[in-house]
Each structure stands twice: as C-alpha cells, then as structure tokens.
Symmetry: C2
Subunit: 540 residues, 2 copies
C-alpha cells in the first residue's frame, strides 16, 4: 500500500532557495587573482544564478548538455554549481592539473558543449582547444571584466554575458533522477572514469554530510573549502554550506600556507576543509611564526590518509579538532568521518588518537562491507583485511560511458572501491592502503599508509611517502622518501630505530632505502604522487 | 538525461541496520510500571525486531495491514516501530488518552487487524473491544510475562509469542513509497484525520531532524523522549536516535516531575524532549528542591507555544538550552526549530530571548509560505499575518480515507496548516495562534499565545491560558486563566499592569476576566485544553 506523503523531488534548486530565504545576507567571499577580495551574499548569488541560467540558454545549451568548468575556487564557479543543474544541464568540473592528453580524452568523452575558464588558466587550455570536438562556445572569467587576447573561439567574457541576461526565473522542472553533475576520477591506470551524479544523490549526500556527527557544519560556522571545486564534487560543500547558511570563504588560486592563514584570520574562519598536504604546510607555518588561530575550531581533512601526528599537533598546540574523512569521487564523495564515541571520551589520549587516525564511521545511508578475493564478506574483527565495498543513494551504479571498468559494480548492487581495509568491532573503517599502493613482500603485505604514519610521527620529519621497489628475492621491498623539517637532521638509522617498535623486522626498509628528499611530489589534487616515486624507486 | 547513481530505496530497515552495525552496545532504558528499569542494547533490539516480524506474520498480518499500539513509551513499543514497517505492515499508534468514541472511530476507520496493548491500559480498552470490527488478535505487553485476566479475545502475551518466534530474517523488500506509519491527529472539530507516512518520508524526516541546526542530536547524547510514542509519530525520535547511535531513556507511564528528574540524573540524560507543560512542572520541581541537572544540556519543547519566561529560566538558573520546535502530525511532524543565527550571538540577552520565543527556521526541505484568505502569498515583513502553508517530502498530500478535509491540500501542492502566523525578515516563523484560538474582538485579532507568554513572564505566575468568551458588543473578549506559583499571590491588577506595556488597551482583558484557578486542564497529549476553558468562559 502506498503512503500519502507529497512526491516532492529532491532537487538542487531547493538548496539555493533555502539559502535565499533564510540566510539572504550570509556572504560568499572570494580571493581574486590580484589578491583583492570579492564578496556578496546568498541573495546576490541567487540573482546571479537566475541570470546565468539565461546565459547558458542563450549560448545554445540543450537539456542534458554537459557544461564544463576549468577554474579555481570562487563565486563564479559556485554560480555554475547551481545554474547548470537548475537549468537542466550537467555541471562538469574539469581538473585543471591534468595532463593534456587526459583533458583531451575527458572533454571529448563527456562531449562538453560549453566551457567556462578562468583567465589565469587560458594558457593551459588554449593549446588543447582545437582537439576538443564538441565545444561550441567558451566563456572566460576575468577579474577586470575585460576579455584578454585568446585563441579560443567563439569566446565571450562572463560579465558581458551576465550584463545582458534576463532576470526572470526560467528554471525548468527537473526530476530527482536527472543528471546534475559529472566528475572524472584522476585514476592512475586506464582512461579516467566518471561518476554522473543525480539531483537526488546530490541532495541526499548534502543531508548526510549535514548530520551532527558527520560534518557537523552549522550556520554559525565560517567555512573555508580549500578542496578544489574541480575535484571530487568539491566534497559536496558548495551545496551543504548554502543549505545550512554557513558563510563561505574561497582562497582562489593561492593556497600557500601564509595566504591561507591570513585569510582564515581576516574572515574569522571556524571550519577549514582540504587534503592533508595543505594542513601539513599550514602546521609548519603556524609553528614557524608562533601563530595561533583561536577562531578556527575544526579542520576536515581527507583525500589521503591523515597522519596521526598531525591530528595530535593541531589538537595539542592549537586546540583545533582535525576530523578525518574518507570518500571517493564515485561516492559523491563522502564515505565517512572520524569522531570519538561517547564511551571513548574517558580513554587515555593516546588511545583516542589511535581511533582518530582511522577513516571513521560511515555516514548514514552509506553501507560498507569488507570482502575477500572471492567476494565473501569478512568479519569486523579489527584484523580481517580485504577490499572495501560500498552502496548507498549517493554511490555510483556505473561509470559514465565506460564498459571496461564495469567489474567494479557487482551484480548484487555494491561498488568495489579498490581500497584495502579492515573494520574494527566499533565499526570504524581502517584503510590499510589503496590496492595499488600495498607493498607485497615475501607473500605478505606491508601497508604504506601505516609506515608513513609512523615515520611522520618522528620529531624531525615533515613528510614521508612509502612505495614499493621491485626485489628479485622478496618480490617487493619498501622505500621511504622522507622530507626533514627545516633545521632538523634525523638519520636513516634514527628513523629505522623508531620504526622497530611498530613493525616486524622483515617489514622494515633497508637503511639505504630511507631516502631524504626536499619535497614529495604532488598529484593534480595535492596528494602525494606515488606514481612518480615508484618510478624513481624502480630506477635506482 | 538520467544520472548513474544507485537506486537505493530510503527505507526504515536502513536505520536499524545502522544502529546494529555501528552502535551495537548503546542502550535503550525503559522504566517499567513497577518502577524497575529494563535495559538492553541496539543489538538486542535488532534481534527482537527480527523475532517480532515472525510474530506478526504468525498472527496473520497481511502486507499493508495496520498494526496498532495502545501503549506508553518503552522498548516493546520501539520494537513495533521497526518490526511493523520492516515487515511490510503499517504501524498505527493509538492515542491512549482519547475519548472512547474517538478510539472506536479511529480503529474502525483504520481497519486495524492487530492491537498491542499495555497490561496497565487493559481497563481502558476492554469496554471498547467489541465495537472494533476488524481486530483479529490482541497482544498484551506485561511486566512479569503473565497474561492478566482480560475480556479481550483472541489474546496472547507478548513474550510468550516472542519465545516461540524464529530468528532468521524474513523482512520482505519494500518500496520507499510504501506506507510505514499511520497517525491520527487529536483534532477538536470533525472526525480525527490521519497522515499515512511512507518509508521515504520517515527516512527523510529523520535526516532533516539530524541536521546540526535542527535537533543537533549526536551519538554522544543520552536522549529522553517524554513526548508520547502514541502522539505525532513520537516526533520521529524512535528513528533518529538509533540511526545516530544515541542512548534512549524511556520514562514509561510516570512522567511526574520528580520521576523525570531522578531518571535524568541516574541515566545521565543530556537531551530531553517533550511538551512545554512537562517542562513547566520540572522547572517548578527543580526550583523547589534547589536541584541542578549538570549533565542535561538541551531540552526540545514543542506541541504548543513555549513561554519565553521558561526559556529564560532554564538558561539562567540551570544553564540548559531550551530549543523550541513547531510541527504537526501531518508533517511527520517536525516543521522547524529555533536557534540563534551567528549574527545574533552578540545581541543583548533580551533580544535573543525574543528570537528564541519564536517557532524558528524551517528544517531543510520544509518549505513555508504565509497566505491571506484568498491564497495570495504575504511578505516576510514581521507583521503580515495569515495562514501558514507548507510543503516538503515529509508532508502529507492527503488525509487517509478522508474527503471532507481535502480542502487543506491545495491544487498546487501545499498543505494549509490552520495555524495563523507571520514570518520575520530573518525567516523565523512566528505562530500567532491556531486559527481556532485567535480572539476576534471589534474586528481585530488578539493572539492568545502572545498574551499567555506575557502573563507567564510575571514572577508569581506558574501557568496561564487565554481563551475567548462571547461578547455582545465586541464579538469576543479575552479571558485569562492563571495558576499562581505556590506561595505567590499576584493580583489581577498586578498582572494587568504588567500587560499594559505589551498590549494595546483594547486588547487587555477586563479585571474580572483574569481568573485564578488551581490547574490548567490538559488535553490527551499534555497541551492546555482550551476547549474546556472556552466552555467555562462561555458559561460564566
């Protein structure tokens, strides 16, 4: 028997309407390329999205068309996050740090028809433009409103289009099952694969994130999302923040520690979000300059494993709670966040930190299980390790136009993440490693994540990344790349000695495999680039 | 173009599965009729719900059947909240305080087939049983497991059935659009009307409540829902609490202030929920006994207007934040909760209290508007007053089997609440009154709620209720029924004097219309019973 409740579709327009009605004067602050700040309110945002809807239509977008962005974090990018899906199109955020061949593949695979590009990024995309087969029009987003010289064509300037746009609402009715967003993963093998989000998945993902124990974001927060808007659906924060009425602060292109710290101070940021490497740099900067950030209460950190030592340092030295998150582009992207349970509040601090260094407890409506190679479910005993599989209303059921990777979606409705993990009896996920990052030695596994964490806990170490090198006898052996803190000089022997209490002897790297370097290479989204390190390790 | 995300139905089984997996050892504590406490865990609850599913099937329930309860708040009632919908039936919570004729109407209208009744309530329902035309089986819930003598037939004892029940999961697949719950309003005119909740509406309502700025309930909370489980879908708390892993404390039948205070102390309650009249009594008790409740941080209060003076008293004298909520059975039931915005944090306390005495900001996915008698939308200007209309995924689109009230559902998809309200520019709802409680005098309106609030702010006043009496010249005039605090003796003149600064002279009651009584009569769900008072006022 059907119930008798309203068939109210869960669509993205609900979000912006809520912001406009209940938080009209809350601000969106964007740092521009010159360093100047742009600021306007959610009421302004709404009015601009209405106009942008006219612009998209005038440029010839048809229902379901992919509208691409190639841009940093700022208010115009946010406008596109709403105007595209609210107008019946699909927002496709291009990762500005991809290799040209990947961008070419992605734009043609997605069949993007419009591309919105930052003026500061023109040089990166111009050489590729003639290879994009489906793009009908380019729009350049500038600081001064003047279209720079460009080889792109046909091309318009964003504000010139907005100035002529209508102001009446022309949003079409959309179904909650309609596509709303398209996001490619920065995969390291095969062609990039994409998740095609629905209005429903986007709305539900936002409600999941909004739970008190998931992100816990409040109207009283000032949120600074350093996670790029061109990556992993921007963690869903472009939707969550307006819905709950939090002020947003966008750093733009400059995410150097000094710039971020000054911005957090001047805009009274209470909640900052980004990948661990960003927060390693900020930590270093705060220490060097003996600064505190009294208004900053929480940091969300995810995208790769968060070092236990960093969680501890922010808490002890700065009173800031670092919440670890784990997710994947295919999951909209949030899977879990890590918080202590009530019964852990009285635990000794070291034991609490052990918990906080885990990936955490899945958000509501995110189901997880651990399976062995045959697909059998493994117990949640704190040790049985296998592949993590997930399902839920904000998880992909297939990749967009991709047959080769369909094996990741099981017949009984689960997505196999490719992450190797175990569950503890409390339901906390422990990501042992990405499948491809595990080190297989003598028939056993070594977790690169665990070893990195242990090395980064060593006082004189700033960063560390552990990868495998081929070995004739053992198949693979670990190599640790280590960046020393300025002024510190730990030796390979010191570090090895500190590892002895955490690892079996056979797991330890050889002394010459502790290699000191100046900086760990980064991927397009700021994670440690282990592909580059593996190549180095193999060559040496 | 459809997106490519999982078609994962939003169903109630997800909730209990989450509790079992991530919070297996969190407790449900129930005070039994003898005063003894029953306690078990969410893991136990899950196992019992599996067994109860077998019991329901064995008793002959068919898909879509209405399974009724006639019970106080306790763990078995909670088991039915899950087992009925998870087994494909509809949970129908009967209000134990209704008049016999209303119960007879409701059970026959709903066509309940099974009724689960507390042993302590047998005497209330036995005389009616032969008038219930569709009930096939009765189940009695007892403290000692012994079936008491009863005229009900056929009848079984709950634990005797559970002892024989299977332990394998036999839950059928359900659609998110399937009916899950049925709840009649305790309307004062016409026959009772019912909302028929879906799995989807129940699940979404839970996610809305779980937002940080809505209820803000956390795994770290110990929640005591004093709101009856037989009323207004129990405010959705039987679903929210297990989903987020909060410990639940049920007071059972004894909700006297002393019992509640002792229970909150012994079970470390951090978050208590109930109607204002409950908290008026608790406040009085705490003051009289010079007690504090240091672990209690928040109280949710709704169902009728929350006196500003009470919010202030809890904050100032006890450090407890009282969050006002407003909703309706037809809304699952939550509409809004009241919290200060960031910009109000620096306001003077009196101005903050003015805000906190409002109904609050609608939860996400609860849309509101104010309409005049012709259905035209009114501005949010803090004064334009009209009927409040709402819509959203957890709002009824029709009453169950009821044609006479279909005018409350508009053709363009809104539910007309029957509440008279205005919106302020900040988006806070101000419920001026129930339409039927407004006092129409000389062509103008007087808000009974506003006057009650003002009288209850007077130091020597415990409670006050204001109703209309007929008047030949003015149509209606206000009559204030006032309960003095023990030991206090404010006069009519004192009270009138204090009202002069808040009301126009024509709005004030006559001195003889301030009437002191010993207690304000209560409705079946603990609200002030204005129907009784109106009859008194008319008679005098």
């Amino acid at each position: 028997m059907d119930g008798l409740m309203m068939e109210y579709p869960l669509t993205i327009d609900r979000i912006l309407n809520r912001a406009r009605q209940f938080f009209p004067d809350k601000e969106v602050v964007s740092v521009l390329p010159s360093g100047a700040k742009h600021r306007y309110t959610y009421k302004d945002l709404y009015g601009r999205v209405v106009k942008l809807s006219h612009v998209l239509k005038a440029l010839g977008a048809k229902p379901g068309d992919r509208v691409a962005t190639f841009a940093f974090n700022h208010y115009r990018h946010l406008e596109l996050y709403y105007a595209a899906p609210m107008s019946g199109y699909v927002l496709h955020t291009l990762n500005i740090r991809l290799f040209p061949e990947q961008l070419e593949y992605i734009v043609n695979h997605a069949e993007d028809t419009l591309v919105f590009v930052d003026a500061s990024l023109l040089k990166a995309i111009e050489p590729l433009a003639r290879k994009f087969k489906t793009v009908k029009h380019w729009v350049v987003m500038t600081e001064d409103g003047k279209l720079p010289e460009t080889t792109l064509s046909p091309v318009s300037e964003y504000e010139a289009l907005m100035a002529k746009a209508g102001t009446e609402e022309i949003f079409p009715a959309v179904s909650e099952w309609d596509a709303a967003g398209l996001c490619y993963t920065s995969g390291t093998t095969g062609n990039p694969k994409a998740a095609l989000y629905t209005h429903r998945s986007t709305y539900l993902h936002m409600l999941l994130e909004g739970q008190t124990d998931v992100l816990g974001l409040s109207e009283r927060d000032v949120v600074m999302p350093v996670v790029p808007m061109f990556h992993a659906n921007a963690w869903g924060v472009p939707y969550l923040s307006p819905n709950i009425g939090a002020k947003i602060v966008y750093a733009g292109a400059n995410v150097a520690p000094e710039a971020l710290v000054k911005l957090m101070e001047s805009e009274h940021v209470t909640y900052a979000m980004g990948v661990p490497t960003i927060w390693i740099g900020v930590l270093q900067y705060l220490r060097e300059h003996k600064l505190q950030l009294p208004e900053l209460k929480r940091m969300l950190s995810g995208g790769s494993a968060v070092p236990r030592a960093m969680i501890e340092a922010y808490k002890e030295e700065f009173g800031i709670t670092m919440v670890q998150a784990w997710g994947m582009t295919e999951m909209s992207p949030l899977g879990c966040t890590c918080r202590l349970k009530r019964k852990m509040e009285d635990w000794p601090e070291a034991r609490q930190l052990d918990m906080l260094a885990k990936a955490g407890i899945p958000a509501p409506a995110v189901e997880v299980k651990i399976v062995d190679a045959l697909g059998n479910e493994l117990p949640w005993d704190g040790k049985s390790t296998g592949e993590l599989a997930v399902r839920g209303p904000a998880v992909a059921k297939a990749y967009y136009r991709n047959e080769e990777a369909k094996g990741q979606f099981t017949a009984d409705g689960w997505f196999r993440t490719g992450d190797v993990a175990y569950m503890d009896p409390e339901g906390y996920i422990n990501i042992a490693d990405r499948t491809k990052d595990l080190i297989k030695s003598g028939g056993e596994w070594i977790s690169s994540v665990a070893m990195e964490n242990a090395i980064m806990a060593f006082p004189g170490v700033l960063e560390a990344a552990v990868v495998a090198r081929p070995d004739a006898k053992w198949d693979e052996r670990p190599v640790a790349y280590v960046v020393r803190k300025p002024g510190a000089s730990p030796s390979s022997r010191d570090i090895l000695k500190s590892l002895e209490s955490h690892f079996a002897k056979w797991q330890l790297p050889a002394e010459e495999d502790i290699r000191f370097i100046d900086q760990i290479p980064r991927t397009s989204v700021g994670k440690f680039d282990k592909k580059v390190l593996r190549t180095q390790a193999r060559a040496s």
